[in-house]
Every structure is written in structure tokens, then in C-alpha cells.
């Protein structure tokens, strides 16, 4: 076998296009940087569009990739439901499956062949709960989008935050389709919490943030905190000064200061000069990195047992900082940073100022 084929299934049309775009570009950036040869094998990727949340389409694409294109590795998976569907195929067809985006905690439990290079929401928000209670935030209004990751985020944050002796004054769930934040934000404003904890999927955040300020919550002394999805790197720079000071926690910021990140951003910009890489992009980049590193270790063998054994426990320095694959859960262990939106050199960035190191998904 001369070629290793990787089937990349991502949403490239529909409401979640930007996720697919970032992940794909991230993955291609890695290949551009490191060449398309590993351990003597040529790496080939085949991209498929699953349009967002259409699991049976994802399943069908994955099956087709496994049977017809004879791919060695399945990868991508923008959202949780498609990842679940893909897991069925991975198990049945015995293919390693690298989840580069979907962030519901339980994704990795759906097949013994899943590896994840993105993050799990509880992982991202639990450190935030700790930081908030240490910094004078006692009462929080929780607002999350009504689907897997949102519910995960709400639950993990809420538990960690109340365990520390604080109060969640109310929690609301915003519909995934056609959200309108006004009534929820008004409710938050009326309840006068210290902060609003928000999880909004990347892509929807702009209108949320805008309404947050337009409705005058910052003036009313209400802070905004949440996982980094809320101040997504892709959009933050267009948002205007009203987001300054927002505190979030996440595993990656484009502003992360390291040579690895610098190289990543350069490679990314060569492909998509107009876009800023975000946490989705880094998931795609590290997904490829994991595949490359594992193949190097197995000497180009990609059969599922050899590959999985080699991948477990793998560690490397990612653009986000040091990471490793937890051998038990096959999920990623990484630093989670507390960041604040600041203006640097005329642009808005999530500037990291605190971190919890080598943090595993606390939900497992």
C-alpha cells in the first residue's frame, strides 16, 4: 500500500459552513506545512459535505468512504449528531475515527476507535467556574443553546459553580434554529446577576454579543463569561469595542504566543488569507498532526488496532500548547486558558492571562 486515504466529513454548506471551512483549512495547513508523505506513504484526503445536522447522510457518506473509497481513517465531524452516526460506521468498518470538532463530552464513548483532537465542553468551562468564584462573581445567569454541547456546558459549569458555593439565578436554553436572544437577555438584565454565562455555537455569536451590549447589560454592571466559542476568533475582530473585557475560557486562542502557533497561522494564511484560524481550525490541524505522528510511529501501518494502540498516549506541542491523548478515554488532554478580549495592534484578540494545565475532560 502506497497511499493512506483520509475521509474528511464536514459541513460545507448550510448553517454550519464556517465550522467545516475552518477545520478543512486547518487540516490542509498541516499538510502544506509537513508535506503529503509520512513513513513512505502518500497522504490523500477526500472531502465530503454532510450539510450540518443530517446524521443519516453522514452515515451514508462514511460508509461510502469506507467501502468504495477504501479510506483508512475517518475524520472531521462538525457536530455531535453526525459524530454519533459516524461512530457506528467506524465500529462496524473498523476504522480509526478522528473527531476534529464535535465537542459533546460523550462523543468519544460511542466507539472504541474514536480519537478526539478538539475539546469537550465540560473541559472548557469547569476552569471558568473556578476563576469566576475566585473573582467576585457570585450570581450567574446561565444561557445556552439548546443542543448537546450547550446542555453539556450548562451542566458542567453550573455544577462546578454551585459546588463552589455560588448561585445560578436562572438558566435558559435558546433554540438552535433561528435564535432570538432579546427576551432571554432582557430576563437576565431584570434578574441583575453578577455575570451571564453563555454558550453559543460559533457562527451565531456575533448577533448574541451585539444584542448583549445593545440591550445595555454591560452598563448595568453585568459581566459576560463563557467558553471561548462566544468570542470566536473568526468573528471577534469585526465586533467592535463593545466586546472588550469579555472573559472566556478555552483551549486555543489565535493570540497564543508560541512558535508553533506562529507557524500554524502562517500556513493557514497561505490557504485562506482572509480568515483568522479559530479553535475549529486548530482541531483540524491537530487531527492531521495526530494522524501523521501515529503513522510515523507505526511505520505507515493504518489498520485499526495498530493505529489505535500507537495513538493512545501520544503527545505533542500543538499551536494551543502541550497536548496529549488520554489512553483511557482517547480524548484530548490540554491546557485550558482564561482569556480576556483586548485590543492589540489595532485588532481584537482573546488574550490569555491565566490557565489550568493538562486538564482532562472532567465529565469522564
Amino acid at each position: 500500500q502506497e497511499v493512506i486515504k483520509i475521509g474528511l466529513i464536514l459541513p460545507l454548506t448550510g448553517p454550519f459552513t464556517s465550522i467545516g471551512k475552518e477545520v478543512e483549512t486547518g487540516a490542509r495547513a498541516y499538510i502544506a506545512q509537513h508535506g503529503d508523505k509520512v513513513a513512505g506513504k502518500k497522504i490523500e484526503i477526500i472531502v465530503k459535505d454532510d450539510t450540518g445536522v443530517a446524521p443519516e447522510k453522514t452515515k451514508q457518506l462514511a460508509t461510502d468512504l469506507a467501502i468504495n473509497d477504501k479510506v483508512d481513517i475517518l475524520a472531521g465531524f462538525g457536530l455531535t449528531p453526525p459524530a454519533f452516526a459516524g461512530a457506528l460506521v467506524a465500529t462496524q468498518a473498523k476504522k480509526p475515527m478522528v473527531v476534529m470538532a464535535a465537542a459533546t463530552s460523550s462523543v468519544t464513548t460511542k466507539s472504541p476507535y474514536i480519537l478526539r483532537t478538539s475539546f469537550a465542553l465540560p473541559q472548557a468551562v469547569v476552569p471558568l467556574a473556578g476563576w469566576a468564584s475566585k473573582n467576585g462573581i457570585k450570581k450567574v445567569f446561565s444561557l445556552a443553546t439548546d443542543y448537546g454541547p450547550g446542555i453539556d456546558a450548562e451542566g458542567a459549569f453550573g455544577k462546578a459553580f454551585t459546588d463552589a458555593g455560588n448561585e445560578i439565578v436562572d438558566k435558559v436554553r435558546v433554540p438552535l434554529q433561528n435564535p432570538d436572544y432579546a427576551p432571554f437577555l432582557q430576563k437576565a438584565k431584570d434578574l441583575k446577576p453578577d455575570a451571564v454565562f453563555a454558550f453559543i455555537p460559533s457562527g451565531e455569536t456575533a448577533s448574541f454579543l451585539k444584542q448583549f451590549t445593545d440591550r445595555g447589560l454591560p452598563q448595568a454592571g453585568i459581566k459576560l463569561i463563557g467558553p471561548g466559542d462566544v468570542t470566536d476568533d473568526e468573528v471577534i475582530n469585526n465586533m467592535g469595542d463593545w466586546v472588550l473585557g469579555t472573559i472566556t475560557s478555552h483551549h486555543y486562542s489565535a493570540a497564543h504566543d508560541s512558535p508553533e502557533n506562529k507557524a500554524f497561522k502562517e500556513a493557514f494564511a497561505k490557504i485562506e488569507p482572509k480568515m483568522r484560524p479559530n479553535f475549529m481550525a486548530v482541531g483540524g490541524y491537530d487531527g492531521m498532526q495526530l494522524i501523521y505522528k501515529t503513522l510515523e510511529k507505526t511505520g505507515g501501518k493504518a489498520d485499526v488496532d495498530t493505529f489505535m494502540t500507537a495513538a493512545k498516549g501520544m503527545s505533542w506541542v500543538s499551536p494551543r500548547g502541550p497536548v496529549s491523548i488520554d489512553p483511557e478515554t482517547r480524548d484530548i488532554t490540554q491546557n485550558v486558558y482564561i482569556r480576556k478580549v483586548e485590543r492589540v495592534d489595532g485588532a481584537l484578540w482573546n488574550v490569555e492571562f491565566d490557565k489550568v494545565e493538562n486538564f482532562k475532560d472532567p465529565a469522564k
Partner: protein
Amino acid sequence: MSDAFSLPFKRLKPMSDPTDPKAHILNATRPRWPEALVWVIALSAFFLFPTQMPLLSQIAITGLFAVSLDLILGFAGIVSLGHAAFFGLGAYTAGLLGKHGWHEPISGLLLSGLLAGAVGTATSFLVLRGTDLTRIMVTVGVAAVLHEMANKMTWLTGGSDGLTEVVIAPIFGIWEFDIFGTVAYAYSLAVLAILMFLARRLIQAPLGLTLRGLRDNPTRLLAIGSPVKRRLIVVYTVSAAYAGIAGALLAQTTQFVSLDVLAFNRSAEVLLMVVLGGSGYLYGGLIGAVVLMVANRLLSDLTPEYWQFWIGGMFVILMLFARGGLLGLGKQVMERRR
């Protein structure tokens, strides 16, 4: 000439014996070659495209779903943009049965069809009145409410994460669902063929004639003594049951149910398929499903980001030059040649 009596293609002039004015009705039930061709192609797919079974079984399932919509759209004139409600009900029923110990597929299919049909009867009074737009929106509303309920009832449905761990026993205890999807395709195709045969009987029988009358002029149908509402309820129920069975097939063959079985997109897509293929021919939905799904697949492989442009272009051009969908176009061509 009538729509259904000369399936699958309509002809303008009375066929066979032009001197016998009754011929057009008497000869209506005779099978015709284009119809046979459809099934020959469907069967030969086992040998021609052995690696495309998953796609093919999805086409068969979606085709059945489209046929169910055509029953109310093409034969009774009810426009629905929420037909996924019944598809989804069927899918969740079959999925839940499979998850909670009822692994036998065929009884699961029937139960799902029954349940969807019952809900069809219960909601049919909502579509008895009103204009096209009213019916469109009421059906959209019903489907949206069901969608939202399935989303909220996480304990039962798995919410937006979907329903997993659906276990389906081998068919007749013999054929197990495999990863290549051969059994799934054979199973879906068999169900499609049986239901298609029944639907075909139905529309060629007096009931079918009544339904076409209903589509053309409900006022007159009442005035010849037909209990119009009762007829509407009957087709709506049959159509809902068909949709439910299609949904159940999807759940059983993919062993997975996600919220999008109830989504607006699915309702819209199936409507597009029926219109694309041509409504009121029964086979229109099937052809629409084949064309749209194959085109989707080919185009999205070619250009994963912009394939929708070409699909859209296809719709636009088809509607500019071929009224009545693909079968309408076929009919025009046949008439020209005469």
C-alpha cells in the same frame, strides 16, 4: 386523458382502439413498459452498483416517502410542507422499539405505520379546510411542534444527540443488516415494491377516481353526493402510514434516529422531489428522489461547497422549460412524437 389510468406516462389520444370510447378506461390497468423498466433497473442495481447499496437504500426509502406525499398532493390536491411529521413518527417508533427490546423488523415496520397513520387520522381535520397556503402552514406548524417535542423529550428520544443503540434482528431471522447495505437495500426495495403495488391498485380503483375528482373540484364532488371530508381523512391516513413506514425503514436500516427526521428541510426536500419528478403519476416522486439524490451526490463530490448552485440551476431550468416535472416533460415528448 386521465392521469392515473395510463401509468406511468400519460397519453393524449385514446390508446389501442380509438373507435372504442371506453378503451381508455378499460386498458388503464395494463402494465406498460416504462413501469416495468423502473423495476428492472432497481433490481439490476444489485449487480451494476454493488458498492452503492447504502445510497440506493436511502433512495428507495426517500422514494417511498415521496410516493406517500404524492398520494395526498397529486391525487387529492393537499399541499403539505410538514410531511416529515409522519416520517419522523415512524422513525422514532421503529427506533424506540428496536432500542427497547422489540428487535423484529417487520412487525416494527407495521407498528410504526399504524402509529403514524393514527396520528394522520387525528390531525387530518386540520387540513380539511383552507387554501394551499393555509394547509402548507398548518402542516409546517404540526411538524415543527413535533420536532420541538422530540427535542425536549431527551429522556425518550435522546434529544438533539439522536437515538442510538437501535438493535434490529435479522429479517425472518435469516438476513442480517450488513455494512455493505445489501440486505438493507433488498429490504427497502421489497417494502417499496409492495406498497407501490397497493398504492397503484388504490388509485386505479374507484377510490382513486374519487381522489382525482377531489383534487380537481371538491365543490362538484360534494354535489354528486360524496362525503368529501371522509375521503380526505382516508387518503391522509394512508399517506401518513406510508410516510411512517418510510421513516421506520430509515431507522431500521441505519440503526439510528436523529432529530432531523422531523426537520423542515426533510419535508421541503420531499416536496421538491415530487414536483421535480411530476406529481400525480405515483412514479414521479420515485423518479424525483432518484434524480435529486444522485445529482446531490455527484455534484457534492465534484464541488463540496457549491453544489447547491447547480442543483438550484437544475430546478430553475427545468421549471422554465418543462412544466409538470420530469414525467410531465416525458409526456410532452411522447406527445410530440405522435
